[in-house]
């Protein structure tokens, strides 16, 4: 049985909920069991917005991710809040443009990606979320352009078809970042 629990966290407006939704749809197009649960409420204004995503071969029990296998932290408050909750052996992806400190845990794997800087340097200022997600998928061995295109079609409406290509480029940019 394979179950992966993801926690995406950052400022409201960084596209945290969208990248989580995209990942859930990717699981759905691959016939996995998935759940997506956002944090909601006043904490979204200025503090951390987060969402729990579970992708599994089995029916999903609780949709609440309290101990993620994979944490995507896109700002410092998110890393501060969730670093300790990651399971031992888990993976943390941190946006190093906005998070100046290093992860202190030694029992997790960490990837630092300057996603926000890569986004603005390459003309996708709103797609830091997808850049960092590209890296996540690459590390997990799930970066496959055909699967990603199929999943993007589910989350991007036909009217915004131009955005599909842009998102795919952002995902690739993150996947290729060393």
């Amino acid at each position: 049985m394979s179950t992966k629990q993801f926690l995406f966290s950052g400022f409201g407006g960084q596209g945290i909920l969208f990248s989580g939704k995209f990942l859930a749809y990717k699981g759905l197009t691959e016939n996995k069991q998935v759940s997506w649960l956002p944090s909601y409420g006043p904490e979204m204004r200025g503090g951390t917005a987060s969402c729990s995503v579970i992708v599994s071969d089995e029916p999903v029990g609780s949709p609440i991710v309290s101990n993620p296998d994979i944490l995507v932290a896109m700002n410092l408050p998110s890393l501060d809040k969730f670093e300790q909750s990651v399971v031992p052996g888990g993976i943390i992806f941190a946006d190093s443009t906005l998070i100046e400190r290093k992860v202190t845990r030694e029992d997790v794997t960490v990837y630092y990606i300057p996603a926000t800087k890569l986004a603005s340097d390459n003309g996708y200022p709103t797609l830091a979320n997808m850049i960092i997600l590209g890296k996540v998928l690459k590390v997990l061995g799930e970066f496959n352009t055909d699967d990603l295109t199929a999943a993007l079609k589910k989350v991007i409406s036909a009217k915004r078809a131009d955005m599909l290509d842009t998102n795919l480029k952002a995902l690739t940019l993150g996947a290729d970042y060393e």
């Binding site: 859930a24 749809y25 997506w36 609780s62």
Partner: protein
């Protein structure tokens, strides 16, 4: 077979209501159920339906009363404090024997409380909801797919028994997205010879009213209504059993609590502790029989709730106090973790419940 799509629980309720033939929605925004109203605002005008944001919850429920009187499928939705405001309308609809679907996506209380998930309106929903002798059919979904399916079922049951059916969900169920398949066979709305939809000069006037000043007559109406409730209790109980065949400890949980408990049960089973679960899907009528049966088999029942312990009273009644029933809970918008439930199970197990 329709394609599976990802939907929020709230959106699944709204779309399923439309599939069930509901063309009239009245509501007033409140977190965490606002997506229902937002979805209806978008869809209803496109399909010739009515979306109306009322000036208050009280207005909305009375609009529901009106449309139901005219014989149409109609709904409203709110969250805990808003449902309290609708209480008077719920009682009037019961007194007038009007069908409707009411959705409560619960949040922490009492009072204005918070906006995080809760199950603390269990008493309110299952024990009547307002003044007078009456019941509502209370449906407790535990997945987005069930949010959808129970919405359709709710309209059918409401029409069949001329009662309010309530979806009792919580903030998590409303906000979470899961794959959902929306291909339902919907029983069409039955003939409603009591509806106030115009006599066409061919019949006497129908009157929909909850006022009855002659006590002998009002008593008769109450007894008749409870004969109908007895049929609901006999025929419409729904529940799910999970790993109960060899269980020595039984968990009672509904909605999100059942999802959390399931994780704990899997972990307990890995440790060799035989735990199962009875998950009520109808909270009223309450699934008394499976708990009565479980009490002959298990040594202990644990009620897992997002409240200070409300369903636990029905669990104790149904199991006739033959085995101890303990509470594992969080309240005020907090959700028990699988670890908390597992610790409770292990505590009971090591205490001699094996």
């Amino acid at each position: 077979m329709a394609d599976k799509v990802l939907m929020k629980g709230n959106e699944a309720i709204a779309e399923s209501a439309i599939i069930a033939g509901c063309r009239h929605y009245f509501g007033y925004p409140i977190t965490p159920q606002t997506e229902i109203a937002a979805y209806m605002a978008k869809r209803m005008p496109k399909i010739g339906g009515t979306f109306l944001q009322a000036e208050s919850e009280i207005a909305a429920i009375n609009m529901v009363y009106g449309v139901s009187s005219a014989g149409y499928r109609v709904m409203t939705s709110s969250s805990s404090p808003g449902i309290s405001l609708k209480g008077e309308g719920l009682s009037y609809m019961a007194g007038s024997d009007l069908p409707a679907l009411v959705v409560n996506v619960q949040r922490g209380g009492p009072g204005l409380g918070g906006i995080q998930p809760s199950q603390s309106d269990y008493f309110q929903a299952t024990k009547g909801g307002a003044h007078g002798d009456f019941k509502m059919i209370v449906l407790a979904p535990s997945s987005v797919q069930e949010m959808a399916a129970l919405t359709v079922k709710g309209f059918e049951l409401a029409d069949k028994y001329r009662m309010t059916a309530m979806i009792l969900a919580d903030g998590t169920m409303g906000q979470m997205m899961e794959p959902v398949e929306l291909d339902f066979e919907v029983k069409p709305s039955p003939e409603k010879p009591w509806a106030t939809n115009g006599t066409k000069m061919q019949r006497t006037h129908n009157i929909v009213n909850s006022l009855s000043l002659v006590p002998e007559e009002l008593e008769r109406l109450n007894f008749e209504r409870f004969e109908r409730y007895a049929i609901v209790e006999r025929d419409e109980v729904m529940y799910e059993e999970y790993l109960m065949d060899d269980a020595e400890i039984c968990i009672a949980a509904f909605g999100i609590a059942a999802r959390v408990a399931k994780n704990a049960i899997v972990k307990a089973r890995e440790k060799g502790i035989k735990v199962g679960m009875i998950r009520p899907i109808t909270l009223w009528p309450f699934p008394k029989a499976p708990f009565k049966k479980a009490a002959e088999q298990v040594k202990h029942i644990i009620s897992v709730e997002l409240s200070m312990g409300q369903m636990i009273e029905d669990v104790k009644l149904a199991s006739e106090c033959k085995v101890p029933v303990t509470l594992c809970n969080r309240a005020g918008g907090m959700i028990p973790t699988p670890e908390q439930v597992l610790a409770h199970i292990e505590d009971i197990y090591s205490g001699g419940a094996k």
